[in-house]
């Protein structure tokens, strides 16, 4: 009996560690996208994108003033959807 309990506790711990590692991976990928569209396309990489014109100016200007905001929105909703799915995969969702 006692052995069984400790075994299930161990497996829960293991699954929690796997859940957390998966979460951290998703966060890192999302934050790379977050940085690339704002600091990258919006500021530092703007000269490299200057060839692509958007409504009287270039793509970098669009990313700095509107594009990055739209990507931020997409990222947050993607993360919420992906994590709620991950919660169920690992069986750690709320009752």
């Amino acid at each position: 009996m006692a052995d069984q309990t400790s075994q299930s506790a161990r497996s829960a711990e293991k699954s929690d560690a796997g859940y957390w590692a998966a979460n951290v991976r998703i966060i890192l990928v999302s934050l790379v996208i977050w940085a690339v569209v704002s600091f990258g396309f919006g500021i530092l990489l703007r000269p490299a994108l200057s060839g692509i014109s958007v409504g009287g100016t270039d793509l970098g200007f669009w990313f700095a003033q509107q594009g990055s905001i739209l990507v931020f929105l997409g990222l947050i909703f993607f993360y919420a959807w992906r994590m709620n799915k991950l919660d169920r995969e690992f069986g750690v969702e709320e009752e």
Binding site: D16, S38, G56, A64, S68, I69, Y79, A80, M83, D87
Partner: protein, 594 residues
Amino acid sequence: MDQFTINLLFVGASFALYIGIAIWARAGSTSEFYAAGRGVHPVTNGMATAADWMSAASFISMAGLIAFTGYDNSSFLMGWTGGYVLLALLLAPYLRKFGKFTVSEFIGDRFYSPTARVVAVICLIVASTTYVIGQMTGVGVAFGRFLEVSNTTGLLIGACVVFAYAVFGGMKGVTYTQVAQYVVLIMAYTIPAIFISLQLTGNPIPALGLFGDHASSGTPLLQTLDQIVSELGFNEYTAHHADTFNMVLFTLSLMIGTAGLPHVIMRFFTVPKVADARWSAGWALVFIALLYLTAPAVGAMARLNITEMMWPNGTSGEPVSVEMIESDARYDWMATWQQTGLLGWEDKNGDGKIAYFNDKDADTVAKAEAAGWGSENELTKFNRDILVLANPEIANLPGWVIGLVAAGGLAAALSTAAGLLLAISSAVSHDLMKGQLTPNISEKGELLSARIAMAVAIAVATYLGLNPPGFAAQTVALAFGLAAASIFPALMMGIFTKVNNKGAVAGMLAGLIVTLIYIFLHKGWFFIPGTNSFTDADPLLGTIKSTSFGAIGAMINFAVAFTVSKMTAPIPAEIEELVESVRVPRGAGAAVDH
């Protein structure tokens, strides 16, 4: 009906609505007072967060800053929205799972140290107070203009209104009041923008009109604007002129600060589930984005309108005449705003015309002299903060739109002031009184002390708002730097690392103190004018302005915390368990009180 009566009607009707909701939703228990009984839907919560978040700085000031600088001020747009990504991914779900009422409660429990909790309360009060002073200044200016009373009277009326619904309603009053305020402020921001976008580009959606064609010339709007401003010697609107390093740092400071401001984080304690906390941040950004996608259009279109008004015959024709400004109804707004002292013009060379150009640019001055416009710019003053409020008058829109903008500007300033005051009052009553000084205080006593703290905070903020340490926008940016350097790193390390109590306390103190000193060196000690040793035009560290220093402060916080934590004892087993449990949604019940 004259404009004053219309403004009064709109402002009065919107206030009656907010106060009515506050009375209807009067808070009963402590739990309801702080977190509205946790029964708030993610969409409702997102809308209230948006109203809470978008202050006088977003509504009144931001588009004006973009209008006169162009691309270089994109930092505000990316910074004040990008922070929500950090909030949603790194903080909101875990803090909801932790299930307490305040930010400092989390820091105190996670770092198993009453000292850490008190340090967090101090950081929170410093950042929130700095922020609320800016809001009260904005409240005073907006009331003063639209009710045609002095700044002081406007500020006192505003303070009474904030007091009424924040003190008697608690957060539930604030939550539903803020939903109403959001609706008022977003209508006030977008309706004039739609009218102006239709006039200039024929596109009813301002965000699309910005990248559309200018209807009267047929060329793209931004190209027309670039051309017209560079003919007058100003920087091209869409070009990059700012120092790149400082621009990156400033954007990063605003982002981290957004995720470290206690009144925004507190919002995520009020949703029923961890999953809802994730969605809530997204909904908040949806409602914020409606304004933030419109703001760059408002800025660019207003700049074009103003420049064309000053040059009715084109930049190669004659400038506008003094007679036209004084007699033509389309120029009435100039006389109205001249009374506030925030707009000024002067016919310096006595030719009966007001020539608007960049007199710092030698080529333009030579051109102006050759054309006989004189050698000096004659539109002598155009305060950036009046742009959004004056915008409907500049575009010659109907009186009810102007009244609506008045109500919207006040909604933005008042809602943020109320949210900040709630954060300050709960820090004092819940974290200091109940948590530290008088642990046996009754629920009634705690509620009373929260209300007293709120009243005191309003009085202090009103007093400092009468004698502000600087312009509202500057004060607000400094508040973000302070939150970025102190609160955000402690919260993030509490969830993602095993940093110990001593590391967290040392990190928060180092981040807060170094950032405060850097700000005081540039803005004056305790914001007293003339006591500064450096200016932001020539900062202490290369190109790092005091408004951009928050990101550096945050790095100092992280570095100090990790170093001290490595050298001292590791965290105890029960705290290790707490960190593990915060990371997993399972078992997040209702919040528990101490």
